[in-house]
Structures are given as structure tokens and as C-alpha cells.
Amino acid sequence: MTQWIKACKTDDIPDEDVIRFDHDNKTYALYRKDDQFFATDGLCTHESVHLADGLVMDYTIECPKHNGRFDYRTGAAKGAPVCINLKTYPTKIENDDLFIELA
């Protein structure tokens, strides 16, 4: 069973940036780029560091610790030191609220 969870206001995320969202003892990262919104797991697959402290450049999120990079649209790991992809979640917007679909 999946459900849509209200995560934040769309304006809570600056353009080309990332914020952290915690829900049900799990942590997620939410991204905004040119009014498109994306959601991934919140922790880097290399050493479990919060990606929301990292840097967004175009469609790449870079971990603040060891510079592991992911495409946050697909979760694809983009080279050393990360080798495990990041889980992604569907998003939708209703009345300026951002929802993510969680299992």
C-alpha cells in the first residue's frame, strides 16, 4: 500500500536546492529545479550522510561528506565513491503543497 504524504509548501524549497523531510522515522531529501519537484531517500548510500546538507547542481545532488553524486531524478549513482543508487519517490503538487508517495 502506498500513500501520498504532505511534505512541505512548494516555496519551502528554493530553486535548484534541496531540503530535508523526516517522516515516520525515515529521512528524505526534496529537490526543486525550474518548478519541477523530486524526492529521494535522505541519506547517501555510501556512508549515510544527510544529502540535504549537500550541493545541488542542475540535476545532481552531491553528498557533503565525500562528494558522492546522484541524479536526483532517477537516483542513479554517478561515480566514485558511490556505487549504490538512491531510491526515488513520486511527487505531486496540490494547492502549493508538495506530496510524496511512500510505501
Binding site: H50, D53, G54, P64, K65, N67, G79, A80, P81, C83
Partner: protein, 405 residues
């Protein structure tokens, strides 16, 4: 084409993986001096609650999947440059068309009055880390020689176990080589708060067989383990024997190619000209440089002629503090401080002409990570950022990147 890589640390393994990422389909031999599967070294000094972890580089099956022939528990004894062949200690001979030397560095041994000190231990391998952390317990007396990254990271971890930690540094301050004095003072204060005892500016007179350390001023420090973290030496002997050019490491050009065009060297063992720093030959002991140079050497062996010019980048975690340094501050004439919050700040190191050469940040958790990353990009662009912007924590450094020339 056959490629042989000597050394299965971060650099050698990343080079082997990068060869496949680049589409190279020939044979790759990777010579691994240890019996363990190649593993990441940064976690060795910072064990988790479960103890020291062996974390395979790229994951457990990656080398197999990438068809990389791993020759473990064997070292390269010699290189026959005419026959293009490497002789291993297990009597195998590996022919090559291109060879990468990624032998890294080893701990500088403690020598007192011209003699080795067999009581001293070091941290280099998984086995070293396991032997150290398996015995640390409350009231265990750990004496660390050297206030560099290794010694300080071990001191922080050992205090978590409740050990009695004493750190001896013969220089006038800790982290004298790589870290600005004001940040080093904050790190020292954090260690003192955690209960580490320091003897700074004190030389060691002797270490007894029972590990009693006597300082030159007569202070005696009884120890269960004496751990030396007093720098490292590049592993150049193999290259030396093969008569490759040496100079503070195995000398390479911008493509990481040695004086023999078929042989490359990368990582801690090589010294290379850095275009951002007047092409001075430098040798970098850093995890990220090992990774990036492994990657760069792989591309060079496959024909790329690009010069390596990544901005040097270091980090250290101690307690809740993270230190990150981008660039090299050696030629800086001015420092600008950016106070991010009460605990976190960044020092920007500028050249006389205003160019940003380096940035050193210290703070809790990841508080300085983004700004250091922006600084790194500005350094790569040889930017001369406005000093008032650098000093103003409310100013977004990201906005300087598009305007930087």
C-alpha cells in the same frame, strides 16, 4: 592491450574501475599487497559502534563483475621495463602494455637516537586498526605520538571508549603542516574538553621496553600502547629500482606519466605539477586525490592528454567536528574569515593579487561543507572574489560562480 596496476588501495582500485567505465575491454591485473579484499581506509581510524569495518571499495563483487584479475597477498618485486613485465612475490610474472604504480605511502617509522622503536605501533591497514581498537577499553593508556590527522582522529575515538589518551607533539602546535593555527587551536580545545592530555612542543627522550615514555623534560608517561602518527613516506622503492625519475615521490607529468612513457604513477606515491599552483611539483596524501588520480591515470593510459588539475581537498572528522580544506594555502598573503555560526567558520586564503588559493573550514557536522565546495569551485576558476562577500555569511557564494572569471 594489457594493463597492470600495482597497489590495490583507493587509487589503484578506482583506476581499475575507471578503465572499465571508459570502455576498456582488455586484461586488467591488480596487485594487492594485502590478503583482504581491497577496502576503504578512511573508516579505519573511525570505527563504528560495531568496531572496525572492512568496507570493500565499490562493493564486494565489483572487481569480479568488472573482470579485474586481483592478485592478493603478493607484492611487486621488480619491473622489467625492456620486457614490460612485473615480477610478483608469488613468482607470477605479469606482462603489461601500460603500467600504473599506485603503491601509496607508509607510516614514517619512529626513530629515536638513530634506533627504530619496536614498541611503536602504526595505523595503516585494517589489521592495524583491528589490533588497536580491539584492545582499547576504559582506563587503557593510549599514548599517541604526533598531532596530525591520524593521531587526532584516533585520540577522539579512543576517548569514546573511555581510554586514557595522551598526545605528544614535538612541534610548537598540532596540525602545523596543513591547518591554520586558529582552527588547530579550536580542535585542540575540543580534545582537551574531551579529556585528552597534551604535551606540545615536547620531544621524546626514550621509550622503555615496558612502554614508559620519557620526555626530554623528564616527564614520564606510562602506556599500554604507543601509537606513532608522525607522517608518511611515499612507497617509491619499486620505481627507484626500475630507475624511474624520483623527486619527493615518483615524478610524473600532468598526465601522471613517469619518465617511462608506458608507466604511470598516481596517488600518495607520486609528485605531479599542479597548474593551479605555478606547476610546482606537489605530492598529496588524500583520499579524494587518490580517487581522482586513479581515474585520471586510467583515462591517460587510454590516450587522454588532459593535465590533472583537481583542487586538492582534505577532510577530518573528530568528535562532532568536521574539518574540510580545499586548495593549498602555501602562497597566501591574506586570510578572510567567514563566521557561519557560533561554532563554524571558514578561512579564505588569498594571494597578493586577490586570487582565492584555499579555504579551510571547521564546524559541527556538515555546517561548512557547502561553502567549502563553492570555494573549491572558485579556486578551480582562479577567481578573485570580493572580500566583503566572502566575509558575509548571509551572502550566497553560489552566486559568485556564474560571475567568476
Amino acid at each position: 592491450m594489457r594493463i597492470v596496476i600495482i597497489g590495490a588501495g583507493e587509487c589503484g582500485v578506482r583506476a581499475s574501475l575507471a578503465l572499465r567505465e571508459q570502455g576498456f575491454d582488455g586484461a586488467i591485473d591488480l596487485v594487492n599487497g594485502e590478503a583482504h579484499i581491497p577496502y576503504e581506509r578512511p573508516p579505519l581510524s573511525k570505527p563504528s559502534a560495531d568496531g572496525v569495518a572492512l568496507k570493500p571499495i565499490g562493493g564486494t563483487d565489483r572487481l569480479l563483475e568488472d573482470r579485474i584479475a586481483l592478485h592478493s597477498d603478493s607484492i611487486a618485486l621488480s619491473i622489467d621495463r625492456d620486457a614490460r613485465e612485473v615480477a610478483l612475490s608469488n613468482h607470477e610474472r605479469l606482462p603489461y602494455d601500460k603500467l600504473l604504480i599506485a603503491t601509496g605511502a607508509r607510516p614514517r617509522p619512529l626513530v629515536l637516537n638513530g634506533n627504530d622503536v619496536p614498541q611503536a605501533r602504526y595505523l595503516r591497514s585494517y589489521d592495524d586498526a583491528k589490533a588497536l581498537y580491539d584492545v582499547i577499553s576504559p582506563d587503557f593508556r593510549l599514548t599517541i605520538l604526533g598531532g596530525g590527522f591520524i593521531g587526532l582522529e584516533i585520540a577522539a575515538e579512543a576517548r569514546k571508549y573511555g581510554a586514557i589518551v595522551t598526545l605528544i607533539e614535538s612541534a610548537p602546535r598540532i596540525l602545523g603542516r596543513a591547518v591554520p593555527a586558529s582552527l588547530a587551536a579550536k580542535i585542540e580545545a575540543r580534545h582537551r574538553m574531551a579529556g585528552v592530555t597534551f604535551h606540545i612542543g615536547k620531544a621524546i627522550a626514550s621509550v622503555s621496553a615496558a612502554r614508559m615514555i620519557t620526555l626530554e623534560d623528564g616527564t614520564e608517561i606510562p602506556s599500554d600502547v604507543v601509537l606513532a602518527g608522525i607522517g608518511s613516506l611515499p612507497n617509491i622503492e619499486l620505481a627507484q629500482k626500475a630507475e624511474l625519475t624520483i623527486g619527493n615521490g615518483i615524478a610524473v607529468n600532468g598526465m601522471l606519466q613517469t619518465s617511462d612513457p608506458a608507466i604511470y604513477a598516481a596517488g600518495d606515491c607520486c609528485s605531479f605539477p599542479h597548474p593551479l599552483y605555478d606547476n610546482k611539483h606537489i605530492r598529496i596524501e588524500s583520499w579524494r586525490a587518490a580517487q581522482e588520480q586513479g581515474d585520471h591515470a586510467a583515462k591517460a593510459m587510454l590516450g587522454s592528454t588532459d593535465a590533472y588539475q583537481a583542487v586538492p581537498w582534505f577532510w577530518s572528522d573528530q568528535y562532532d567536528l568536521t574539518l574540510q580544506i580545499a586548495g593549498l594555502a602555501m602562497d597566501a598573503t591574506e586570510e578572510i574569515e567567514r563566521k557561519i555560526d557560533e561554532q563554524a567558520s571558514i578561512l579564505f586564503h588569498l594571494a597578493a593579487d586577490g586570487r582565492l588559493l584555499a579555504a579551510s573550514g571547521l564546524g559541527i557536522g556538515n555546517s561548512i561543507a557547502r561553502d567549502i565546495r563553492f570555494a573549491e569551485m572558485l579556486i578551480a576558476k582562479r577567481a578573485k572574489p570580493d572580500k566583503t562577500f566572502l566575509a558575509d555569511p548571509a551572502f550566497k557564494l553560489k552566486s559568485l560562480l556564474s560571475s567568476a572569471v
